[in-house]
Symmetry: C2
Subunit: 701 residues, 2 copies
């Protein structure tokens, strides 16, 4: 991997490259104008932002019709597709889904979209609250402050989601208010074979041939498609190399502001440990799938998650392992420190920050195993529900500011939505994953740890897991036709409060209860000794950064709305030039007939009708990261020209820095979307709706 890092905006002078996941209110419009002779106006940016939505589970999406039609990736709707399959005893992942009529659109279990309504700068309030707070109280005081601000924002309205987000790692705090859209229905999803054509081998690769799309629709309280003020128009499909492109979305997180001590921790401890565990889980689920067709179906999502995560993190580790790359990051830090040192007033305030952070990293390393094992906890949906009920019933008896963050008033609506989701669970898979997790817990803590002795006693992890799953009634949840919870054991416990939960001897609740005290204790220790002190130091670092580099810089990604710019552009790899477009013909050339290189029957049948020269996927220099999946790619007119679904393998180092020479966003071309909807799936209704928006240009500023 050739690495000519610029890393400019975060750590040095203003970026020269198409670098940055910019906040909408600090977009470098003048720079774009200078480089590309096009300057997005405030209105232009506002429209793009308002037509974008976030998928609570961790993806991006865009509104593409006035009737609430939303475009995202197939892999961003997997949870919905998988859930509906379980409820309907179908395999929509394998066979695809298409609601011929609008009335056939099906509500996704436990699925939520967030639509940003308002951003308020609360920096002063947040920073002032902890101005004189000692490090070990920092987290507590800040948590209470944020809980108060979020509560104030949301009030008793469960239809909104309020979150204070720390930008620039404590340099700025913004309060985001989102509308929570929970009646989301599946409109269209192609077969997994074409959505994820090439499978894990081609994941994070380019050239690529994937129709990684799904269409969903937002429904209102009235049970009708929601009318949208802002939506993106469809382009005419013309897009050529060098064209300027914008990506709006919610990049989940980056680590470009980490210190070298933190980067070393990522490289030597955090990433390796996660990678070992993820690759073991991957092998485990790969063989679990051999148990049978149904087991394969219901574990597909877990396997996809493990493989995707493994490849992404492996790429990150490889970036840090690269001595040149790491050396450049270290040099950036050295330059920054030198600049601080050169100004006595800065040195006095910020000079010790790097060493302080290094000290906190050591504390983190000392508690990481226990924290991960006990608090990140077993990898079972049923267990998560059990712990959720246990903690929820306890936490809500406390004042808002004293609660664990996820149970503060402003966050309870999401919690409720998750705990009362009717997404199906499978005893066999739950048992297998819980066995795996308990075995790993024993591995990490050792068989002599008091929690392990108490939880396992005279039994094996497999025995404990089987008993906990078999005996639990937490699966029991009754919902109405649209997925609203109306009864069942889980709902009774949720509604019943602490007395009811405490009285229950449900086997999974008992398991969660068995070590909740220790889990809470290690979390407390983590928050007091690591998280709080780190936040305090990072605030200082952010201030130092503003002082040295000014404020024309972008913050690390935070799963909040960002916009990046770039152009359609190929790159060089192993001495050869990679072209920025692929065509439908390429998919047929790559088809071998064996998964993951087997095109679905629908495509083989439609082949004669398809335009072989229609562009399929393309790559561009936009700076994105995980969480941007499902983002729209728009042209200067703000029209949809593509749908982001991946980055190339070189983009994985983007966690730590952006290398314009090779880092590429990978998208489905808008023309391929129309071509396949029309000629493979006969989805005329959908094509009309999409093109309709092109025709009317409605919603354009």
């Amino acid at each position: 991997m050739k690495k000519l890092m610029l890393l400019a905006a975060l750590c040095a002078a203003p970026a020269l490259a198409d670098e940055g996941m910019w906040t909408f209110n600090n977009f470098p419009a003048a720079k774009v104008k200078a480089k590309y002779n096009f300057e997005p106006t405030k209105d232009w940016l506002d429209h793009l932002r308002l037509a974008s939505v976030r998928i609570a589970g961790g993806c991006s999406a865009s509104v593409v019709s006035p009737d609430g039609l939303v475009m995202t990736n197939h892999h961003c709707a997997r949870e919905c597709i998988e859930g509906l399959s379980g409820l309907d005893k179908k395999d929509y992942n394998k066979d695809g889904f298409w609601a011929k009529a609008q009335t056939d659109e099906k509500r996704c279990p436990g699925y939520e979209l967030n639509q940003l309504q308002e951003i308020t700068d609360v920096t002063k309030k947040v920073q002032d609250a902890t101005k004189d707070t000692p490090a070990d109280k920092f987290n507590e005081v800040q948590k209470a402050t944020l809980a108060g601000l979020e509560k104030e924002c949301a009030g008793d309205n469960t239809e909104v989601r309020c979150e204070v987000v720390s930008l620039y790692r404590g340099g700025r705090y913004d309060l985001y208010k989102y509308a929570r859209l929970q009646d989301i229905r599946l409109v269209f999803a192609p077969e997994d074979q074409i959505a994820f054509f090439g499978g894990d081998p081609d994941n994070f690769m380019f050239p690529r041939y994937d129709l990684d799309v799904s269409f969903i629709r937002i429904y209102g309280k009235d049970g009708k498609p929601m009318k949208m003020d802002h939506f993106l128009s469809w382009s005419d499909g013309s897009l050529k190399e060098g064209d300027l492109t914008f990506v709006a979305g919610n990049p989940g997180g980056t680590s470009r502001g980490l210190t070298v001590a933190q980067l070393e921790d990522d490289r030597d401890y955090k990433l390796p440990l996660t990678l070992y565990r993820t690759s073991e889980l991957r092998g485990f689920v790969t063989q679990y799938q051999e148990r049978g067709k149904e087991q394969k179906r219901h574990s597909n999502d877990v396997l996809f998650g493990a493989e995707n995560r493994f490849k992404a993190l492996k790429g990150r580790h490889a970036a840090l392992a690269d001595k040149n790359f790491f050396g450049l990051l270290a040099k950036n830090e050295a330059d920054f420190r030198a600049k601080v040192k050169a100004r006595p007033e800065l040195e006095k305030q910020y000079g010790a920050t790097w060493d302080n952070i290094a000290g906190i990293v050591k504390k983190l390393q000392a508690m990481r195993k226990e924290y991960n094992a006990l608090e990140k906890g077993p990898d079972s949906e049923l267990f998560k529900h059990a712990r959720g009920l246990l903690r929820y019933s306890e936490e809500v008896t406390k004042p808002n500011g004293d609660r664990l963050k996820e149970y503060t008033d402003a966050r309870l609506p999401q919690f409720k939505q998750q705990i009362l989701s009717n997404a199906p669970m499978y005893d066999e898979l739950e048992t297998a994953l819980l066995t795996f997790s308990l075995t790993k817990m024993r591995e990490d803590l050792g068989p002599d740890h008091p929690v392990i002795k108490r939880v396992l006693g005279t039994r094996s992890p497999a025995e404990v897991a089987a008993a906990a799953v078999k005996g639990s009634k937490l699966k029991d949840l009754k919902t109405d036709k649209t997925g609203n919870p109306i009864g069942g054991f889980r709902k009774e416990l949720f509604d019943g409060g602490k007395a009811k939960v405490d009285a229950s001897k449900d086997t999974m609740l008992e398991l969660a209860r068995a070590f909740d005290a220790e889990a809470r204790a290690v979390r407390k220790r983590f928050e007091t000794e690591v998280e709080g002190p780190l936040k305090k130091q990072q605030e200082l670092l952010a201030k130092a950064r503003f002082a040295v580099y000014g404020d024309s810089i972008y913050p690390d990604a935070t799963f909040t709305p960002r916009v990046s710019y770039g152009t359609v552009k190929g790159y060089e790899e192993n001495g050869a030039q990679v072209k920025p477009f692929t065509t439908l013909a390429g998919a047929f050339e790559r088809h071998t007939g064996a998964d993951p290189f087997a095109l679905p029957k629908s495509w083989m049948t439609a082949k004669p009708r398809l335009g072989m020269d229609v562009p399929f996927n393309f790559c561009s220099t936009n700076d994105i990261i995980g969480g941007n999946s499902g983002s729209p790619v728009v042209n200067q007119k703000g029209e949809v020209v593509g749908l982001v679904f991946d980055g190339n393998i070189q983009s994985l180092g983007g966690e730590y820095g952006f290398d314009e020479s090779v880092n590429r966003t990978v998208s489905v071309h808008s023309a391929a979307l129309i071509e396949s909807l029309d000629k493979v799936y006969g989805a005329a209704r959908l094509v009309t709706e999409l093109k309709g928006s092109a025709a009317t240009k409605a919603g354009q500023p």
Copy 2:
């Protein structure tokens, strides 16, 4: 992990700690005398060496009776136990094995012991041969030289094994001549539940409660137990903290002589990649075991291997990740370089060596994936046989010096023994492992690599694997009652030579053939561009090391006979003192009834008869590493006081350096061996044989 590294002998002044895996002819007897007031004489050392044997598969062992009785670990005989189970349709691993009468002892399939007969210093011949050889020819010329020396040593005698070993990484070359003992029969093995009590969670841990022993017997050509001139006497079982102990064995390999560039490669590339793969395989086999009882049985050995390897390598990586530890290794190198630099004649000869090695490491990194994928090749026994036959038939048509190393005349006897071994194979497991390997090959090389396109074509890895296993007749091998091959397809191909092999369309042969050219090519590239040049640089480094530090230093481990000294000693861990002995009582306290903490029935039944205070396992400061498994621990009288079977978790960093404060060898106490043989297994015949040697003191010098 507290790390107070001394690393003295390899890189600095003579060792102060009990450090070093010493060659028998360079043992620091005077230093031992000074520290412990006991000086092993040459006779004493010779006897210990001559009573030690090596297990070709990768373990150590000792002769413990005049009638060829050999003691090693249970895990060193797993291959034999597993193989016999398959042949007899029994589960000796689970149930244990005990030959009540000598005639019940069963020959281990494909098992070989090596008994060292002679060591010849061939340094001058080897170094002179390549004195003026350019780096890219170095490997070729040296390989031919070694093949010639080994051939000269072995002649046409297939009963010996001759190997030139590079000590001090090229500082000295010794020619080792071993007798090959191939009629090895299983005498006794306890149940896996007690041999590996605590399983993976307790592996590399202390305190410990394992009876990790097996007894095997060497038989001669006459089919009778072989009479041995040298064997170890049994001690009276008295051993206390502080007692001096010696361990004789064959440590497999250490990396204490690596440069920092190589250590960084281990930390950032080599170890992580291996760990990802190993942990995935572990998860894969863990779930494979769920297919059923027989599948569990026949995959136990693969799972044990993966788990053991994973834990060992993870420990190594953790040692290198430790900044203090790595810093000390870096400092040692800096000191060494400074000492070279200080002497102009040394600087001129050796000053560039470190940078040269760093350059070679980069080349290695660039070809590692392809080398591993193609040449280290699929993880299937059947595939290995196919490739072996293919290459063997080709290589033997070439002059000895031109062949791949493993097919040179002196090494052919071992090859023959392996390829005609009747160790059982299981289609289902072979198919699963081959599927896994082909999937990983595609992952490493990418789906567009010509080998992947050719091998897979329009099929999936699973389809290719299933077809190759199902269609192959390579399993077909007929043996007589003692395991000697007498016929069958595999033997016909082996005997038939190139014409016969070339004519065969056996499916597994075809698979091996499909990418043998590429595999050979990358190996050639590796040997020419990496291995040879590295050897040349390492020879220089070894010379520099001798010049700076003299020759009272020990070489990195090379799976050749070594001896280490130390004392029975506890250590500090997490602020608490770990005592050096455990007792039988401790095992019963640790028993939960659930694997891997379930004692076998035989032990539960025998409990009332067992002395609860009998020492079970103990730890000592001897410096060992993987390969030392099965080594005898002897006292000053040269009597058996224990059986090495593990190191503690802190010993894993021993790959790179020895830390006497916490690095411990873990052994079964001789008293526990006698107590359990006598009172659990009623193995009176064996106890008498072992104690008989104690009584007569035969074989003592």
